[in-house]
Symmetry: C2
Subunit: 333 residues, 2 copies
Amino acid sequence: MHTVTGATAATGADGARPAPPLAALGLDIGGTKLAAGVVDAEGRVLSFTVTSTNPEEGPERGLERLFGLGRKAVAESGLGWERIGIVGIGSGGPLDTTRGVLIAPPHLPGWRNVPIVALAEEALGLPVALENDATAAAAGEHRFGAGAGTRHMVYLTISTGVGGGTVIEGKLYRGASGNGGELGHVTVDCAGRHCRGCGRKGCLEAYVSGTSIAERAQEAGMGAVTAADVVAAARAGDPVATTVWDATTDALACGLTSIVNLFEPELVVLGGGVVSGAGEQLLAPVRDRVRAESMAPAGGAVEIVQSALGDHVGVVGAAVIAFDRLGSLHRPD
Amino acid sequence: MHTVTGATAATGADGARPAPPLAALGLDIGGTKLAAGVVDAEGRVLSFTVTSTNPEEGPERGLERLFGLGRKAVAESGLGWERIGIVGIGSGGPLDTTRGVLIAPPHLPGWRNVPIVALAEEALGLPVALENDATAAAAGEHRFGAGAGTRHMVYLTISTGVGGGTVIEGKLYRGASGNGGELGHVTVDCAGRHCRGCGRKGCLEAYVSGTSIAERAQEAGMGAVTAADVVAAARAGDPVATTVWDATTDALACGLTSIVNLFEPELVVLGGGVVSGAGEQLLAPVRDRVRAESMAPAGGAVEIVQSALGDHVGVVGAAVIAFDRLGSLHRPD
């Protein structure tokens, strides 16, 4: 039996239940990449490994590769399986966290009603928890990242799509449905751009996702470019790219101001590929404008910072979910 | 000593502390009207009385009239003062609920840093709790109104301005600042109408408040009309009024969809003068559109209903706040 802290040692020592596991295996299913990592109870990433998702190969082959990646992460962690008692999985929704099923995630076309928790428990022989990936990431940043110690925090991730999660009164918010809030689908302009994610008009995601930035750049005459190309060209002073980029930060500031006005968080953490690629080129104008325009009575004192966990946020978040939901369970064996 | 329920009788019977008060005096400070009512612990309104605010007379005269109105409500309630142990006050913010101070509410021009809780405690000889009026109204609808029994609820009030409050996991949400969310200041169109409430562009309040409806009607050529005139003319088939009204319900549906996407409530309760005046002429199109467009994974199953407390919501909400914050305190005498 292994113990993590004095407090958990005391729990283990009473003989009634085993000590919590030393570490968790976190698995993250993105539309482009699968990631796996072993994370200990203090948030240290002991191993981290990534491969491509290839969702078109279907769920059976995809999960085989995911679980293989998890085994690789454990092997590289320096810990034996007996020290890793639990597994957390993060994925884009819609999903059913109670039944442990991926319902029909748009980033995994063709994966419908996949009982991923049962399949993972069978394959890995450990208890498994499933969570919306953005909710899990919010939990990760709150526990071990930029939001540690805050009571009210919003996490927004901007990459292929836009998602996020919230912490309210120190607790992860899951909403009446258990899926948490859809932070990418707050309106910027109700008569604006078509939103592929939800079908209505003018959502935040329709302006600031990597996909949308590239689309708007193409419409502005930049040709077939990526969001990263737009960021680089704007930084170099290209006038068309600057216009596209300014519209991006304007839309993000607008959407974020709505989010801040509704939740009144003390901290907003921004993560995802677009944010890590642009850094202060994105954060500085957005921070200034949200602070100037939001109604938070603290006088615009909301903090807006970049994710501290970076590429690890998915697996750390999934591990935090596993610790929270499964950390005190008995091992099934 | 009077007791309210078996549970509180048990508390009272131990001799250590008196039973909670039988009823609370609720006071509501609107920009147009002051209201006072005595509300018992089961939400029954035992008395209700209203007068005009006349905020231009200043806080001293205004509070004198408010406290006089409260005394009248107690006299008309059939209860003696000894049965009314506590007072709740609701007002538009910004206010400091901890220090009990109205900071600078825009609906009360010239009232700055008014220590209303201390003044009310001195005038009425009872413990007093202060709360943002929309937050208090949300508490009232959740405890005794349309939201009774729900875990996740949004209350939106549409009258001169637009405000609201949220209940999350069965608890009133106050945000990091203690002022709750500013539900009127979610964006409908980031390049849209100037919002008088916050100074930025395109907030929900700038389209659907009574003030904004009247302004938009005037701009559309209807002359100096009220929101109620627009509702009546649209109902009678007037084409200009219909255009103005449809834009109103469109904007409300858009803003409410953002709110539903962010909070994922099971229920939205709409109150305030514009809602009670228009009824299903407002609720039906908004309900259809929010259900069709929101991403709540329950399949658009969010319920959208009218306030059950109507004109009483302010005093009932203030009374609920008083019960929650002061219900177990000793009387100061």
